[in-house]
Amino acid sequence: MHRKTLPGFVSALLASLFFAGAAQAADAAAEDGAAVYSRSGCWGCHAYLGQGGRDGPQIAHTALSYEAFSTFVRNSTGDMPPFTARIVPDADLEKIYAYLQSIPEPPAPETLPLLQDVFSD
């Protein structure tokens, strides 16, 4: 039902998944996780594929266990505001975690021609 309220954004995310090649790989739970990730707003600071940027670190393929992930999200007192179970229920956070872990591995930098300059510096 939340999807109805955010059609534009969810389709953008599905498009991300398409280009990331994830549509083939992700299972249903992870796809649902993408929608939860979107409406919970994590992308605001961590970007649509959890790749991170100026306002938040990468959280896709986090090395944190679910417990550590959840502890951080619930209790952050630093630059990230805390997200309690009241606003992101446990069931949602689990889906978010699964989604972030399911995003296909990015291409190796060595395989991307445009990145070769960076290595030759």
Partner: protein
């Protein structure tokens, strides 16, 4: 007969200002040669020009042979050289290439003079759709041209429009010659709208963030005040200034002979203040003795010389430089260039030069529910400030930031102080110091080579194929196409997570001009157009990575670029939101534990439903529009097409749908 000429007659009768000449004194026709000799008596030497570059009055007048006012008198016409022609004579001595304007009745006298008397050359009028945009154009232009532009605005409402852009320029230390029209005398002022737009003290509105203003009472007074305004504006700290031009002063015709002594003073720009020699020596001693000296710089390089001096000083000491990016202060790929707070945490000496915010540089303030704050520097770290911030300050607006105690405060222009600081450091370098410095340099080189490339490449790859397109992909695709050109970036890059600064090589002064200064949105597009105008004679490939929200404040700047044929590659960072505010709302909702799951933070923060079609927007104003580009693989061909258009001398825009940051 217009009501205007009636008022002129009335004025003439009461002989209010002596120099008014209307129909009643039409017999006293003044011919152009007489008018000229009123400025320059025959045989008198031409007023000294401020530099070899500037035309003298004689030259200026020779260039504008259109200035004939010798037509016989007809009812309802004026005879003689109007006041605003004299004003143009003054402007022509100041090496002002452009005046940007949104046309206004209170400026119609000088507007007409610039075009018909001045030949619309030096200065040439640029048309802007909004005074805020015009003033931001002047702001961007200065940072490349290093000479000021005029911004001619209507009294009151025009200046109200311009005000935010003036504040940006103030915070960013950019000189702009603001000029407005106004009429104080209710007896000659047209009733209705012109009276609504008149004010006793129109400059009051922006006085807190301009360095100087005046409302001259005569043409001689205008001459002196305009030259003074230029001089004050161009003395560091560079700042905007404002001249209010009376409408009667512009439109009236001085009586013949009234201006036998009219003169235009020459501009001798004051040399900027250098740091006091003892304080400079003490700073040098501190730097030479330090284990980890760090320079933090924001607007040190006022000119290309500042950049070269900064490199010289840093290399002399092999000291880290944290460039906060108000100007192009230091090459970003230099092994001594550092980003972020880590270098400052390690420092035992911090020298802050022309900083906007020294407190914020050496303290942490985290935006949490309980606003934690505290120093990030180690205890005992010595601190020195060098800058014009101590020379010049105003009380109302808080751009001076929080108070930061330092060990030595040098109230001086940093760029002007660098040569003596370099010299003082050199005098103190003995063998032991040189060894320590060499070791520090080697360590910096090693750390730089190993860390940087891997981190950047991994981060760039992580959303390489994503749609919306990542800032990293956008920046790498662009870099591939511009790196072998003579390029310049005229926008900031925070909104795409600083990717250009992470991967492009900035080493020339003109490749980077910093940001708005006052963080007032609506600066980006027009400032880019102004900067591109200043790059145009050099034939550079100018890139503006344009935030969508900023663009929508005043998209009319695109029209100005098309109309005046200003080549500029606009690449939309179209994340369809005022994304900063999305994050603020998320933060508030999280603190308050409500609303997140409803996406409430999307209300009044996003720019979607409907989406803006920026390519069509551009096309509607005569700018080639390409996009929207959503698939990253379509990016390179789109950019290539746009670059071809820009190289042919026109602006172009590529709409790119992007990740949030």
């Amino acid at each position: 007969m217009t009501d205007k000429s009636k008022s002129k007659q009335a004025v003439t009768k009461v002989d209010r200002r002596k120099f008014m000449a209307g129909v009643a004194v039409a017999g006293a026709a003044v011919v152009s040669t007489e008018a000229k000799s009123a400025i320059l008596p025959p045989g008198a030497p031409a007023p000294a020009a401020p530099s070899a570059m500037r035309p003298s009055t004689v030259m200026a007048q020779a260039e504008v042979a259109t200035a004939s006012v010798s037509a016989p008198a007809y009812p309802g016409t004026q005879n003689g050289k109007p006041g605003s022609d004299y004003m143009v004579d003054v402007l022509k001595t100041l090496d002002i290439e452009y005046i940007v304007t949104n046309p206004a009745s209170s400026c119609r006298g000088i507007h007409e003079s610039i075009v018909n008397y001045g030949g619309n050359r030096m200065p040439e009028l640029l048309t802007t759709m909004h005074e805020e945009s015009g003033t931001a154009m002047a702001h961007g232009y200065f940072k490349v041209a290093l000479k000021p532009m005029g911004s001619l605005c209507h009294g009151t409402v025009g200046l109200q429009h311009a005000a935010m852009a003036v504040y940006n320029a103030w915070c960013d230390r950019a000189p702009i010659l603001m000029m407005i029209g106004n009429e104080m005398d209710a007896n000659v002022r047209r009733p209705g709208v012109p009276t609504t737009h008149a004010a006793q003290d129109p400059a009051a509105m922006i006085r807190d963030f301009t360095k100087w203003d005046d409302q001259p009472g005569s043409l001689q007074h205008f001459s002196e005040s305009m030259v003074r305004a230029y001089r004050i504006s161009m003395t560091p700290p560079y700042e905007p200034v404002l001249i209010v031009m009376g409408e009667e002063l512009q439109e009236g015709v001085p009586e013949p002979g009234h201006f036998e002594n009219f003169s235009i003073p020459k501009v001798a720009l004051p040399t900027p203040p250098q740091g006091e020699s003892n304080a400079v020596r003490e700073t040098a001693a501190m730097l030479v003795a330090a284990e980890n000296p760090v320079f933090v710089v924001d607007r040190v390089a006022r000119t290309p010389a500042g950049l070269a001096l900064m490199v010289e000083l840093a290399e002399l000491l092999q000291a880290t430089v944290v460039d906060q990016g108000g100007r192009m202060n230091f090459p970003n790929m230099h092994h001594l260039a550092a980003r972020g707070a880590a270098a400052i945490r390690r420092a035992d000496v911090v020298v802050g030069m022309e900083l906007t915010d020294f407190w914020g540089t050496v303290n942490d303030f985290s935006d949490t529910a309980h606003a934690q704050q505290g120093p990030i520097v180690r205890e005992g770290t010595r601190m020195v400030s060098i800058g014009t911030g101590d020379v010049y300050i105003r009380a109302n607006y808080q751009d001076f930031q929080r108070y930061q105690p330092v060990d030595i405060a040098i109230a001086a222009d940093a760029e002007a102080t660098l040569p003596s600081l370099i010299e003082a450091v050199r005098m103190l370098l003995d063998g032991a110091a040189r060894t320590r410095i060499d070791n520090r340099g080697q360590a910096a080189r090693d750390a730089y080579n190993t860390a940087r490339s891997r981190v950047a490449a991994d981060a760039a790859a992580s959303a390489w194929n994503a749609s919306p397109i990542s800032g990293a992909r956008l920046s790498f695709e662009l870099w591939e196409l511009i790196k072998n050109e003579d390029w310049a970036l005229v926008s900031r890059d925070q909104s795409i997570s600083n990717w250009p600064h992470r991967v492009w090589t900035f080493d020339k002064y003109y490749q980077w001009i910093g940001g708005p200064g006052g963080a007032g949105i609506g600066y980006g597009l027009p400032a880019a157009v102004g900067a591109a105008l200043a790059h145009r004679p050099h034939g550079r490939l100018v890139v503006n990575i344009q935030n969508d929200g900023d663009c929508m404040y005043a998209p009319g700047a695109l029209w100005t670029a098309a109309h005046h044929k200003i080549p500029l590659l606009n690449v939309m960072h179209n994340n369809r939101a005022y994304h900063q505010e999305v994050m603020h709302l998320q933060r508030m909702a999280s603190w308050r534990q409500r609303g997140l799951s409803d996406g409430s933070w999307r209300v009044a923060t996003t720019i979607e439903n409907p989406n803006v079609d920026y390519a069509k927007l551009a096309e509607s104003m005569g700018v080639a529009g390409i996009g929207p580009i959503e698939n990253p693989n379509d990016l390179a061909p789109a950019l290539r097409r746009a670059i071809d258009i820009v190289k042919a001398g026109e602006p172009a825009l590529v709409d790119v749908i992007t990740q949030p940051r």
